[in-house]
């Protein structure tokens, strides 16, 4: 909720600021001139982007950013962003590229230049108690399943599979209920479970269901740069990375469970010359 309020304030302030926005220079040229690529990444979303004790931002997405910088032959600078300011930073020109766990949504496409092809996808899955031995979504029928209040997929999961969703305020509360055995599983973003499955605290739990309601993530540049040189460069970059299987490599490096999306993209681009 707070995030939404902040986003609204941002939007209001930005509309006032728009008049003063400077005319955008060609980003690709600017990057080469400066010798520095500034990429906005998350610093609070392990393992996609988080801090190590030295303060450096590391993870799946920072590694992608490093690849882009390497290809351009420039230095990399990572700028921590949050969901409520990532698109504004891009519009302002504070960052050249955004790789910040952003879902591809039609309304966002109007604001920033989301690059095709998309680079990752998260979906909905269940962190289930091993005792429940979940094999398919239909097994959830009539069972108590933990969830997070306000998650958009609570309703479809309840309606389609007949799960009895017990919605909690935050992740911590849902975790506690799950560990205490109040529900057979926890329905949430599959990417959020990646981190937990590596933790011995969750050794009695598993993620065995196929991911559903998949939402792809997109990297983004300034809206007017999408069809420009910089957007085309990024588009080619992502396609190449899918083709070479580099994203899958990074996924393994950060111990993220193999996503069906990356595999599918790899197969699709492998065939293309």
């Amino acid at each position: 909720m707070l995030n939404r309020v902040i986003a609204v304030i941002y939007a209001a302030a930005l509309s006032a600021a728009f008049a003063a926005a400077p005319v955008a220079a060609q980003t690709l040229e600017k990057i080469k001139q400066r010798g520095v690529l500034v990429v906005g990444v998350k610093a609070d979303y392990k393992p996609f982007g988080f801090r190590d004790p030295s303060g450096a931002i590391v993870g799946f997405e920072p590694d992608m950013a490093a690849d882009v910088a390497k290809k351009l032959g420039v230095k990399l600078e990572l700028e921590p962003v949050v969901s409520s300011n990532r698109m504004q930073f891009l519009q302002q020109g504070k960052i050249d590229l955004m790789i910040a766990t952003m879902n591809d949504k039609p309304d966002r496409r109007k604001v920033v230049g989301i690059i095709d092809p998309l680079y990752y996808a998260s979906g909905v899955n269940v962190l289930g108690n091993k005792k429940a031995a979940l094999k398919n979504w239909e097994q959830l029928k009539g069972q108590k399943v933990c969830g997070i209040q306000g998650a958009w997929y609570n309703k479809p999961v309840a309606e389609k599979y007949g799960a009895d969703i017990v919605a909690f305020k935050g992740q911590t509360e849902a975790e506690t209920a799950l560990l205490q055995g109040n529900c057979i599983g926890w329905v949430y973003d599959d990417t959020a479970f990646a981190e937990r499955l590596a933790d011995p605290k969750w050794k009695d739990f598993e993620m065995t269901l196929p991911t559903i309601l998949e939402e792809p993530w997109g990297m983004a540049v300034k809206l007017e740069e999408r069809e420009g040189e910089w957007g085309k460069f990024m588009s080619k970059f992502i396609a190449d990375e899918h083709k070479s299987g580099r994203f899958i490599e990074l996924e393994k490096k950060w111990k993220i469970p193999a996503s069906a999306f990356l595999k599918k993209m790899h197969e699709e681009y492998k065939g293309k010359s």
Binding site: I6, I9, Y10, A13, L14, A16, A17, A20, P22, A43, D44, Y45, K46, F50, R51, D52, P53, S54, G55, P80, V81, V82, N85, Q88, F89, Q92, G93, K94, Q171, T172, E175, T176, E195, R196, D199, P200, K201
Partner: protein, 278 residues
């Protein structure tokens, strides 16, 4: 000997200051309480964590250098915002007591506007209205987020300093002005040589108070994405992914702010006592 009750209208001796005001001040007891809360929460967290997980205090210690870096940014921002705010606020305050009506009115409006605007709103405006870099005569100077938010924080400081100056000048007994006039001082001479030197003394305690308030307000900048101690604490928590770490970690940060602000609060009290008008 028992003091006899009396119905006579006796005026009790008037006591200045006294313990009444003291109790609202930050005291060592608050520090002890905070430290105890921190130790207690760390103990509880330790009991909650998995046996294989590293100790809570060790984990916090591991992240302390990073947190200290963030905290240093908080202190730097508070220093800079205080400096800018004071330099801008003193002329504004003097403007409020100007004999020229347009100057007086404009200063009043500016002061009231920034004094009564929420700090967070001012921060958002500074963050978004100011460009991320400016070109002056060909050279491009970048304005990082922390600098922009420091300017955002200095605006309310400026308005508060302005009020401090106005209040301090007004609090000097009028006889001082008259005496100076009788000795053929001009208005500006009176201000410079008679009034303002007396004001400095009176303004110092509230000015230090304002500084302490500003310091504890710097974590506001975490909302606009500045990587200061508060933001880093959030990052650290998500990096550790241990729910039990949440309470001790934030208490640790609170303790750091206390340790910084406590000496300032004590010094303010001491100065207030010393400068008390008797």
């Amino acid at each position: 000997m028992r003091v006899a009750q009396t119905d006579l209208p006796v005026l009790r001796p008037f006591r200045i200051g006294g313990g009444e005001r003291e109790k609202w001040r930050l005291s060592a007891r608050h520090g002890v309480f905070l430290a105890a809360a921190f130790v207690l929460s760390a103990g509880v967290a330790q009991a909650q964590s998995a046996p294989s997980a590293p100790a809570i205090l060790a984990t916090i210690w591991k992240w302390t250098p990073l947190l200290a870096e963030g905290f240093a940014l908080n202190i730097a921002m508070s220093f800079l915002a205080m400096a800018i705010g004071t330099v801008a606020g003193v002329p504004l305050g003097l403007g409020q007591i100007s004999l020229r009506r347009p100057v007086r009115d404009t200063s009043w409006v500016v002061t009231q506007f920034f004094r009564n605007s929420p700090w967070l709103v001012l921060l958002f405006y500074c963050m978004l209205l100011m460009p991320f870099e400016i070109s002056i005569a060909g050279t491009t100077v970048s304005l990082p987020g922390w600098l922009k938010s420091t300017i955002g924080l200095s605006l309310p400081v400026m308005a508060n300093v302005s009020e401090l100056v106005r209040g301090a000048v007004r609090s000097i007994p009028y006889g001082q002005w008259e005496a100076a006039e009788a000795m053929a001082f001009s208005r500006s001479q009176t201000l410079r040589m008679v009034i303002l030197p007396q004001c400095v003394k009176r303004m110092t305690p509230p000015w230090m108070n304002l500084y302490a308030i500003l310091t504890v307000a710097t974590p506001l900048t975490s909302v606009v994405g500045v990587s200061e101690a508060m933001t880093l604490t959030g990052d650290i928590l998500s990096s550790e992914g241990r729910t039990e770490l949440l309470v001790p970690m934030y208490l640790y940060l609170l303790l750091a702010f206390f340790l910084y602000c406590y000496p300032i609060a004590r010094a303010t009290v001491a100065l207030e006592r010393r400068f008390q008008v008797r």
